[in-house]
């Protein structure tokens, strides 16, 4: 529950000496989902200022990218947001294709969308599961990871890796789908639909969970846009904005799906519960997209459009996709050689962490975990 400092000060007994305290949270705190240090300035148990210190996982992605050719960069993009590797590759491939001005076969686009949406479900399952653990519910976490494992085995059968795929290449894919993929994906959809309801019964409508998350960490819409927030966090604040619909890329305009937004069902619009619930609803929409894509898969050769040598003309492009966490943008400058001149990544986690101080002010220490979990950051992408 949010308490304002002013109210707290007026209740304080006169003559009682108080002191501001600085508390370090992290870098090894299990709920910070990686290596993040928060410097919390406290007045009693109430946060007056929160300064995130990042960079513990900095692996110099942008410097590396300047020393490699365009296709060598792809495995490095996997390692940024390691819970949504498919989507990182997807975004990078689209950006380079725009620079090169090439079209990819329709089958490739469909498979990319299927993989991207499966990845979205897998990523949301981690987000929801670990969020539940942070707040103290252990069982949903196990359920989520059980279902995520089924998606990961689909990926493993397709490209041989569970987490870091190197599957989506510039102009195509590294492999075609295996013959049983369509069947197995349909089976997964049939299996997973009831599981969302199970998760709702277990966690979403749980009284304790609602008490911990409703009306906590409210992010007003104007603040969210000014801070560049995107993805489920922006939609949680009640803004219907999704790059898949509003600035369509690939073949997303061929599918029928909705954009769920936070409606403040349990409290104010834009609270932790809304951000959580938007992710649940998005999984259902992703299932719809996968179902349509997998059953209308066009025939074709997935490697036919892969260029032998990638050497884009001099120019620059900013290209963005809707990653499970939000707007993932690649800004690439080409100087006409085989190596990119500059690759800048705008990662949603990096941006979302910037708004943390704004939301945390006035909350209790115990809510830090609830709020940090609800904005769903991956430190691998924050630090790159």
């Amino acid at each position: 529950m949010s308490i304002t400092i002013e109210k707290n000060k007026s209740e304080r007994k006169p003559g009682l000496r108080t002191e501001e305290m600085v508390l370090n949270m992290g870098p090894q705190h299990p709920s910070t989902h990686g290596v993040l240090r928060l410097e919390l300035e406290l007045e009693g148990e109430i946060i007056t200022n929160a300064i995130p210190h990042i960079g513990y996982l900095h692996r110099c992605f942008e410097k590396h990218a300047e020393a490699m050719n365009y296709s060598q960069v792809i495995p490095y993009t996997d390692r940024m947001d390691y819970l949504a590797s498919m989507y990182n590759e997807f975004g990078y491939a689209i950006a380079v294709e725009k620079l090169l001005g090439i079209q990819v076969p329709e089958r490739v686009e469909y498979i990319r969308v299927i993989m991207g949406e499966l990845q979205r479900i897998a990523s949301h399952l981690v987000a929801l599961g670990t969020y539940a653990v942070d707040i103290g519910a252990f069982t949903p976490f196990l359920f989520c990871f059980r279902d995520r494992e089924k998606i990961l085995s689909l990926f493993e059968q397709t490209c041989g890796a569970r987490l870091l795929y190197n599957y989506i290449w510039v102009g195509g894919l590294s492999h075609d789908l295996h013959p049983d993929f369509v069947n197995q994906t349909n089976e997964f959809i049939k299996y997973f639909r009831p599981k969302i309801k199970e998760l709702n019964d277990l966690l979403t409508k749980n009284k304790i969970f609602i008490d911990r998350t409703a009306n906590v960490g409210v992010l007003p819409l104007d603040v969210a846009i000014n801070y560049g927030i995107s993805g489920p966090n922006l939609r949680g604040s009640g803004f219907k904005w999704d790059i898949r619909k509003d600035d369509p890329y690939s073949v997303y305009n061929k599918f029928d799906f909705d954009i769920p937004v936070g409606e403040g069902l349990m409290g104010k619009v834009g609270d932790c519960w809304d951000r959580y619930y938007v992710r649940i609803l998005e999984m259902e929409e992703s299932l719809k997209i996968i179902e349509q894509a997998v059953n209308n898969l066009p025939e074709g050769d997935v490697t036919s459009a892969i260029p032998k040598r990638i050497k884009p003309p001099v120019g620059q492009v900013y290209s963005r996709v809707e990653n499970p966490r939000g707007e993932l943008g690649y800004f690439i400058i080409s100087d006409g050689s085989i190596n990119p001149f500059r690759v800048k990544v705008k990662g949603p986690s990096f941006v979302h962490l910037g708004v943390l101080n704004e939301i945390l002010k006035g909350h209790m220490i115990a809510d830090v975990i609830a709020i940090l979990g609800s904005i769903d950051i991956v430190l691998g992408e924050v630090d790159r």
Binding site: G55, H58, N226, G228, G315, Q316, K344, E358, D383, R384
Partner: protein, 176 residues
């Protein structure tokens, strides 16, 4: 919805010499070059003007243009003197659905750009990143510290094209 050309005309009428040129030579993206010291006023205008309403900054990226005088050190590493560092701003209006790219270029020896942090808070961390990795000074930024590199990093700015890996970090030998 407005095109980059139309926006260029509006800006030119309001700011005159601060708007340097419209670059359309590149195939994918067109952009407007702006004076680095006046970029904050231009950005505030872009956000507030009712025909433009650029309420969202999509991305801000610093770039080392590496267009100065190049020479080689005795051990073969490149040294660049003169030339420019640049910052690209990618803006978007969520209400009017148009986009715009701005570019400012600043002197490499004294890289100073006005901060747009007060217009879009989103720029805060991106400007810190550009300072951290390229050494671009954002004037009037409230909290210009390193962000990805250690706070006590003293071996320069890693994303500059003539960056040299340090042999020592705080007196400790860096192993390779």
């Amino acid at each position: 919805m407005k095109t980059t050309e139309e926006i260029f005309t509006i800006l030119k009428n309001n700011f005159g010499d601060a708007i340097l040129e419209l670059v359309t030579s590149q195939p994918v993206e067109h952009f407007i070059k702006v004076n680095p010291i006046e970029i904050n006023k231009v950005c505030l205008f872009l956000r507030e003007n009712e025909e433009l309403l650029f309420d969202s900054l999509m991305n801000l990226s610093g770039v080392d243009d590496a267009n100065g005088q190049k020479s080689a050190d005795e051990d073969g590493t490149q040294i660049i003197s003169g030339g420019t560092l640049s910052v690209f701003y990618h803006l978007e209006s969520t209400k009017l659905r148009h986009k715009l790219t701005l570019k400012v270029s600043t002197n490499r020896e004294k890289p100073e750009v006005a901060s747009v942090e007060s217009t879009w808070r989103h720029a805060d961390w991106h400007e810190r990143e550009a300072y951290d990795l390229l050494g671009i000074i954002f004037l009037n930024h409230p909290d210009l510290r390193r962000i990805l590199m250690p706070y006590d990093w003293d071996a320069g700015y890693p994303l500059r094209k003539d960056y040299k890996n340090p042999e020592f970090y705080q007196g400790m030998k860096v192993p390779y």
